[in-house]
Symmetry: C2
Subunit: 336 residues, 2 copies
């Protein structure tokens, strides 16, 4: 397969993105090809700086870059030659089989949705991200592709995330929960209540009920579905809080250098155990292709992992399995 | 003033609640009276166990208890003699000036809303909680009273939370943000966009724009407003994540007893700096009275702080100031 990487997207682009591509190339296997998308002279120059042959990768030239903070839709309209736009077009023309970016998330999601189109029967794609927890990895979907959801969208996120959990994470019969403000059936807004009914109506889903924010981390659920607005807030709150806690610990240890050193080792071990970079990036589930959204702060190792994840996503034929599940769904055939 | 405490509500009730009431009594001042609500013989027995005079407090007898996990509305309907129901009735009859519970949050909010009624012009009360952050305390409102919000509700949360920030936390001209999935104006759902317009139309509000989940913790905002569904998920996600991180650290230090001991001291210092128990509980803003919702896990010190917070809320005449601000609001008078 051919995996396209947006070489210009992300806080550490293009250096770390290209370095990640080089790392991935070492382990990918000859049958797979990495294609870099971006400013060709810049990419070639960086390859030389990294002591690599400037001809290592095929490059699709894209002279423009969409900035991390640009309004996505407007930027896509204005910058037709941006790396994200060129990458999404290459995917739509089947010149590449997977698209991967650590750049402007909104622009990447919009471009992939527009160009790749949806899988059969999928109404709205959703971003599925993996939270590493004490109880193992938990998939949360959607974290921002679809901020105004209908029950059928959330139902489809559950189906798609289950296939993802089974095929990518090796979880059998994943336990699915809906994010809510309480566990009781009577609690929640209209969206939660109606989605609950759809999930209960599908015997192929191992529906484990409502969950509250704190239950993400206790291992009781493998898949958590929620409206993109809520998922995005959860993801970013978690990120901000982790940063704050570690900064507070660091501040506290400032005057205790020996203890700080010891504790750094402890943190490194914890970091290894709960490292979300292991998963590379978040999958945009429901598009007709493979689209991986990496965090803006991704460095080489994360990019490498994201490339390997996109290979696995594709070779496990996850999209085919999603289409098959949805076509067999009693909920879908009831005309929901 | 007379402050009513639900002696039966919370994971450590009644022992810790009563102990907290005793601690508060020491510092409250003669002009204030604490009234305990609950099973009178049980309360008197606990007072004796705590080496206190069983006649220390006036007690309003309430033989029933609403469990932490009972469906709130149904439980209130069934248990008319529960401590929460009796407390809310006492508040509605002006037998007490403040009501405080660490019991079933939903039941407490519902009972207070029903019995205390709303302040003039307030459409829906909201729960305001304080997040301790590196940048100082941040008020998040609503965290669960109102899960389906209209723009005018969120606008009122901003007005009420500003008064709270100024009077309770001493923050001048608090910076207000709306929780969103991105900082750009164009981003967000309909609720966010319409609320934004209302906040911008009110020159008395220091509106600082949209924020993302991670921005709660960086000190840029003093007041964060959001729909109760979102706020509740944020609050509980934060709680779950903090627990997970400290459990992960503890697990990692299990075989290093000396380091664990040192680190415990570090954690105690951090805990002191970012201790949400300092704030006692969350205020239900917008009801015609003082209602404090404490965390279910509250122990004596938190209850004491909540009692002191309810005194401050009342003596600072926050409700009067809220009514005044809303009556002067150009947004309100535009018939929103």
């Amino acid at each position: 397969m051919r995996i396209a990487i947006d070489a210009m997207g992300g806080d550490y682009a293009p250096a770390e993105i290209i370095a990640g591509a080089l790392e991935a190339k070492e382990v990918l296997g000859k049958e797979h090809e990495i294609v870099l998308i971006g400013d060709e002279p810049v990419i070639r120059e960086h390859l030389v700086r990294l002591n690599a042959d400037p001809d290592t990768f095929r490059i699709f030239h894209a002279p423009e870059v969409i900035g991390m903070d640009e309004p996505p839709v407007e930027a896509l309209r204005r910058k037709k030659k941006s790396s994200i736009a060129v990458m999404a077009r290459a995917a739509s023309h089947r010149q590449v089989d997977a698209a991967l970016s650590a750049g402007n998330t909104g622009a990447c999601v919009a471009a992939c949705q527009l160009r790749m189109r949806n899988l059969e029967n999928v109404i709205r794609p959703g971003i599925a991200t993996v939270f590493p927890t004490l109880g193992g990895p938990v998939i949360v979907c959607d974290v921002g592709a679809n901020i105004v959801c209908k029950p059928i969208h959330l139902y489809q996120y559950a189906v798609m995330s289950c296939v993802y959990a089974e095929e990518m994470l090796g979880i059998t019969n994943p336990r699915v929960g809906i994010m809510n403000i309480g566990e009781e059936e009577a609690k929640g807004n209209d969206l939660v209540k109606k989605t609950r009914a759809l999930l209960k109506a599908d015997p192929s889903i191992n529906f484990a009920g409502n969950l509250e924010g704190r239950d993400i981390f206790d291992g009781h659920f493998n898949v958590v579905i929620c409206e993109g607005f809520v998922g995005n807030v959860v993801l970013k709150t978690a990120e901000g809080l982790v940063n704050m806690i570690f900064r507070a610990i660091k501040d506290e240890l400032k005057s205790h250098w020996w203890l700080a050193l010891q504790f750094k080792k402890v943190m490194t071990n914890i970091y290894k155990k709960y490292d979300y970079n292991e998963y590379g990036g978040a999958l945009l589930l429901g598009v007709n292709g493979t689209a991986v959204i990496c965090h803006g702060s991704s460095k080489a190792r994360t990019i490498k992992n994201a490339i390997l994840a996109s290979r696995k996503f594709s070779t496990q034929r996850i999209n085919e399995k999603i289409v098959q599940r949805l076509s067999q769904s009693t909920v879908m055939s009831n005309g929901q």
